[in-house]
């Protein structure tokens, strides 16, 4: 019997985003009665996507940003390219829900503010980690060894990929293992030209489809992509994966999920007698009333920073430094990918072709540096990949030109004479205990201590940044670019957090004195606590992390339910 009468629920999941949705689906499908607590407001799939398919002339100021409103309420969130008037309702209100931006060091924390969290506006890039990624810490001594190997997680990658729907092309590369792919999206003619030239001139580099959680084939309840373009406005056909389109409906279909929006988790209460979390304390953000709920097992899926903030705020006599923090490493080893560096090229090829439809993803150049067997000392460890896009030039890139009249009108509307190709590097960030999340003395409107950040890029990232620029130039030149230019500042790197791949802070490991979680995402110190968002990560690889979070979440749910069935939890 995994259901028990003396608890309000069998399981409580904190967060309804990319991992919370998976925990809700897996646990309910395995028979548990699950309460999902979401800090943000309620939002319905479809009808909540208020800006979907809105033409420019319907949008306030025809799409120019709502400057006063954004400065007042979305000071951090509005810095993001995906933040728009057409999806403003998805984002965290920074004024209502702040973090301590005036202490520590600069860190941009992008957060959702509704059911579905950032799965609504994520970049949808979906890559497996490689065998080498899981071995890297043990090999070069940075961080602590991963307690999990590629073979452990590979079946869970497959399980997740089949459900979420990933389009991509198999390449047979050990550094970027193939997955369960739907048919890949087609390419621009000029991308094919570039790929052919790379085969000749830079055979160590592979140009492949960006593996993306957007359907090219229908799945139950979800339609193949209609190529309208701006996924981040929400997609009522469920063509891209979000918890709203996919996992939450699956959980709801079991009739065993209770989803409670506006539920800010204040504290996890630890019972010394049972050595378990006994209660989850919640403040209703609408009524400000307090509630508490009990369950046999608690899954934290509140995002890396959110979950760690909650644990740090959940102190008790047994855990004066934060729940499940006997190791003292909770909050440390915060990582983010650095980006914003790369190379653009202009191509005078394929000028007889244009394009039709808005392909909502690009191509990908998998890691090709520091691979096993490569002996060259590059002056840094680990590696990076490039995401590439074709920039569809139009008037928005040239409206500040001189001239007037019919000639100007024609120039602003005419087809471009060249194709512009951007290759943007995404670099792996090493775990470093100095990079951390900590609690400020400042409190939020609920009386909870806010988080602050301390984060600086290290020498390894800075050395890698230079290589990203140099190799980017080599690749774009080898592609036959008529004009090549680097972009980004390899000295300062991107603002930490702006990769939106914040991870670490409650890492997993075999040694309880050095890690918060065991290899099943279960807290070493608290057996009925699982943390499956990005906080468990012991290193960062260079690929986008969401697929890995989802696979570990599904695996942790499987383990937790077996433990419950065995009566161990």
């Amino acid at each position: 019997m995994i259901t028990a009468k003396n608890y309000d629920f069998d399981a409580i999941v904190v967060g309804s985003g990319i991992t919370g949705g998976w925990a809700a689906k897996e646990l309910t499908e395995k028979g548990l009665r699950v309460l999902v607590l979401e800090r943000g407001r309620d939002l319905q799939h479809g009808t909540g996507y208020l800006g979907e398919h809105a033409p420019s002339w319907k949008i306030p100021f025809n799409g120019k940003p709502q400057r006063e409103l954004e400065a007042e309420n979305y000071e951090v969130q509005s810095k993001l390219h995906a933040f728009r008037t057409t999806n403003i309702q998805f984002w965290n209100n920074d004024k209502l829900n702040p973090y301590a931006t005036d202490e520590g060091s600069e860190f941009q924390w992008f957060r959702g503010g509704v059911v579905g969290g950032r799965s609504l506006m994520w970049g949808r890039q979906t890559y497996r980690w490689s065998e080498e990624d899981f071995k890297a810490n043990a090999k070069d001594g940075h961080g602590i060894p991963w307690p999990v190997s590629y073979d452990d997680i590979a079946p869970w990658y497959s399980y997740v990929e089949k459900f979420i729907g990933v389009n991509g092309r198999k390449e047979g590369l050990p550094q970027l293992p193939d997955g369960e792919f739907q048919k890949p999206m087609p390419w621009y003619a000029v991308e094919e030209t570039i790929a052919e030239r790379l085969k000749q001139n830079a055979p160590d580099v592979t140009l492949t489809n960006a593996r993306t959680a957007i359907l090219t084939e229908d799945l139950p309840g979800r339609s193949a992509c209609h190529y309208c373009g701006p996924c981040e406005n929400g997609c009522s056909t469920g063509s891209y994966f979000s918890s709203q389109s996919s996992t939450l409906p699956a959980a709801r279909a079991t009739n065993r999920m209770t989803l409670r929006p506006n539920s800010v988790v204040e504290r996890l209460e630890y019972d010394e007698k049972t050595q378990r979390i006994s209660k989850v304390h919640v403040i209703d953000s609408e009524t400000l009333q307090r509630h508490s709920f009990s369950a046999r097992v608690v899954f934290l899926c509140a995002s890396t920073v959110g979950s760690t903030q909650l644990l740090l705020n959940s102190t008790s006599e047994a855990f004066p430094n934060g729940l499940a923090n006997r190791s003292g490493v909770l909050g440390q080893n915060l990582m983010d990918h650095f980006l914003g560096l790369g190379t653009m090229g202009m191509f005078a090829d394929n000028r007889d072709t244009y394009y039709y439809g808005n392909r909502p993803t690009g191509l990908y150049i998998p890691r090709f540096r520091n691979l096993p067997g490569q002996k060259e000392d590059l002056g840094f460890v680990r590696g990076y990949g490039y995401q590439t896009i074709i920039n569809n030039s139009n008037w928005t890139g040239s409206f500040n030109q001189k001239g007037f009249g019919a000639g100007l009108k024609a120039k602003l509307a005419q087809l471009p004479n060249t194709w512009t190709f951007f290759a943007a590097g995404f670099g792996e960030c090493l775990p470093n205990p100095q990079n951390r999340v900590y609690l400020s003395q400042k409190k939020d409107r609920y009386g909870m201590r806010q988080v602050a950040f301390e984060f600086n890029w290290g020498d390894n990232e800075k050395a890698m940044a230079k290589d990203i620029q140099a190799q980017g130039k080599r690749i774009v030149d080898a592609s036959g670019s008529a004009f090549t230019m680097s972009f980004g500042d390899a000295e300062s790197l991107s603002v930490p957090g702006s990769g939106i791949h914040e991870m670490g802070t409650a890492r997993m490991g075999n040694d309880p004195s050095q890690s918060v979680l065991n290899k099943y995402n279960q807290a070493h110190d608290v057996p009925n606590l699982f943390v499956t968002d990005g906080s468990f990560m012991a290193s960062s690889s260079c690929v986008n992390p969401s697929l890995t979070y989802m696979a570990f979440t599904a695996r942790a749910c499987d383990y937790a339910v077996k433990q419950l069935e065995a009566g161990v939890i």
Partner: protein, 208 residues
Amino acid sequence: MNRREFLQCAAVLVGSAGVSGHVLALSQTQMTYLASADDYVKMPATLFSSQQRAIVAAAAETIIPRTDTPGAIDAGVPHFIELMVQDWLNDEESSIFMSGLQNLETGIPAELGASYDKLSAEQQLSVLEALEAAASKSPWYAMGNVRRTFISDAPFICQLKELTIWGFFTSEAGVKQVLRYNPMPMKFDGHYPRKPGDTTWAPFATIR
């Protein structure tokens, strides 16, 4: 789901709550489905005098004239400019705009004997060209200086051009009759042929 079903689906996803006055924010409490909202350019504007309206309309038409396709006036750009100056420009920016407008209203008649809107097309063009020549060192014209919200100290002529071009190429007429518009392509084709005279697709989102 085909394209028609899709658009029907969009049409039923309509919230209620009207938009009134200057409250434009698509906020958490205004549950209006934007695709079914009124055009932004139908919002009321009361900033300009009728003389100023005539001048702004003539200047916008000088920048983007009607050819075999609609021009700025056809697309409602003069009213868009008034709305943006009234509701979107900050105090510093709107005072630059209003003094530039006043120059067209009073300075030009003193110099050329008629207000801007009464000048010949050639004279109108040369007035704007002179303004552009005087402003030519402004960073507004720097190549690639387009990935930003607005340049607060940009000269009047730059403001006028930016608002005209933005208003035009985001208007229904500009998008559908000058650019090409297809909100529901249903496929991606990277080998789509190009023909002489083709124009770009209307961008699905503007750069922030």
